[in-house]
């Protein structure tokens, strides 16, 4: 059995860097596209609504791992030669956009119709009605679910390991193969994920409780 030294820990931390980076790219990119999806899903045009609904249900109905595989190999087929991390980042962005789009759709639809009608009556056009009236409230309502999804996304980046991308979980696999101490290594890797995800989960839970109390 090998020893777990500084080098092994450093290797894991480098993997952690990629885990955090992938999560951040997926969350921010997915947030931007997700907003478009949510707006399309709640728009007045039925074609837009249906397209967005189809997009969401495809991503919610297939495993994240398959989404990674299809995007990863699909981009290669299109003739682009991009680095592995870009392909993986695109896959996580698309995945996050569908889930965030659905979460925010719920938030938008939870805002009473009267507000939209009032904004209309005041002569606000679509952009201002959304930006100044509906979205600030909708995003606030959706915050607990959004934080919950961020936790899902961080955990989900571990699947990039199966494609061979070296993030935290893959780094753990490599160190485990070198040192023959799988339980210790996967214990450490699990603990690192836990340290990142648990505070977020607690924060999301607190937000939810506070809102439930306010609603009563």
């Amino acid at each position: 059995m090998g020893v777990i030294g500084q080098n092994e820990m450093l290797f894991l931390l480098q993997g952690l860097k990629w885990t955090l980076l992938l999560s951040a790219i997926g969350f921010i990119g997915g947030g931007i596209i997700g907003l478009v999806i949510a707006l399309a899903r709640t728009s007045a045009h039925s074609a837009l609504r249906k397209t967005a609904a189809g997009y969401i249900s495809i991503f919610q109905g297939t495993p994240l791992l398959m989404q990674l595989f299809v995007v990863y190999y699909g981009i290669g087929l299109l003739g682009f030669s991009i680095e592995a991390w870009v392909a993986v980042a695109i896959a996580f962005t698309l995945h996050a956009s569908a889930f965030l789009g659905e979460i925010w759709r719920g938030g938008i639809q939870a805002i009473p119709k009267g507000q939209t009608e009032a904004a209309n009556a005041l002569g606000l056009h679509y952009v201002s009605r959304m930006k100044d009236v509906v979205l600030p409230q909708a995003l606030k309502i959706s915050l607990p679910a959004t934080v919950g999804f961020l936790v899902q996304l961080i955990k989900g980046t571990s699947l990039a390991a199966i494609v061979g991308f070296i993030e935290l979980a893959r780094a753990g696999q490599i160190v485990s193969n070198q040192t023959y101490r799988p339980l210790l290594i996967f214990g450490i890797v699990g603990a690192i994920y836990f340290i990142i995800c648990w505070p977020l989960s607690l924060y999301g839970g607190r937000l939810e409780n506070r809102m439930a109390k306010a609603a009563r």
């Binding site: 495993p63 390991a161 339980l183 214990g187």
Partner: protein, 222 residues
Amino acid sequence: MNYVLDFSVVFEKMPDLLMAALATIGLALAGMSLALVIGVIGVAARTSNIRPLRAAVIAFVEVVRNTPFLVQIFFIFFALPMMGIRLNPTVTAIIALAINGGAYAIEIIRGGVDSIHKGQVEAGLALGLHKAQVFRLIVLKPALRAIYPSLTSQFVMLTLTTSVCTSIAAYELTSVAQIIESDTFRSFEVYFTITLMYLVISWMMMGLFALISRRFFSYPVR
């Protein structure tokens, strides 16, 4: 680069893929059933008077919900042999799915039990119902109805999660696809096809769950 899509290998291997899809459904069903058992026992322990037991359940739920399934399945895969338990990868995968799904089931079921007000139970008893009737009509059915949507969507998610079991080479759709892929190098064609198969499986499950819900839970609440 001119790549020509060629799905012929996929059609050739279709019987293997369909068998593997059945295996995926079986894996998911086994995982779900055990997860439900863990969920019910967990909630009983979570509401018991024994404090260490309550704390253990809370810790279990938090640890499982805040670490990736991939890390959990690796940990279990290596931990079982060290405890002297040798199982084939597919059984190991079922255990991992049950533990993962069980933690979520505990949270969901607890929410359902909490949603029943004590006053309703007291009212039922005051009206002369038996304890068993109170449990069945006033506690169980409304609680089931309350947790049904989140529990079933959790089940669909668990079904999709089975694809991760390929990492320990359990017998299911994704691992069979990976074998076909490494034999034929038709990565995109193979993965695209099984993605569609997963989509069909999850849509079928959602449809079935909706049907059950309409049959058993479509009565007015107030």
